[in-house]
Subunit: 90 residues, 2 copies
Amino acid sequence: MQDDGKNRISVEIYGHQYRLSGKASVTHMRMVAGYVDDRMNEIAKGNHRLDTAKIAVLTAVNIADEYIRLQQEYQELLRLLQEDAAEANE
Amino acid sequence: MQDDGKNRISVEIYGHQYRLSGKASVTHMRMVAGYVDDRMNEIAKGNHRLDTAKIAVLTAVNIADEYIRLQQEYQELLRLLQEDAAEANE
């Protein structure tokens, strides 16, 4: 850890080394890198002709798809929780 | 739409064309593609020496980071909602 309070690690994703830095824990950063590596390998398996850039873009698209869906579900859950809280105060 | 019930669209992400297909709406798929395009352009702005593959991998890493955090918050919210439901049944 350097003076700015950020953690810095080297990770391997789809055969290439990347330096990641952030305030998150090293464990969290390694988990994120492992998740992207797994997803890239999955996509590469099903599409042998794709180059690394295209595999990475499609991986980003797939993860963004799930992220945006989860954001919608999260908002819905938050709404339910606020309704419950309002009912409890009645 | 073809017989398999999937929507198919062409989108441009970071200057390249991609064919996306899925059961999601065309609106959702365009939003996801736009999100990835925006994030890639943001990362490219801050790192002029990165090639497209590295920009795409770092974009996937950033989105995965937010996705995994949101999964944790979602689980926490679900736990709160279940606690509320259990209290309501007491």
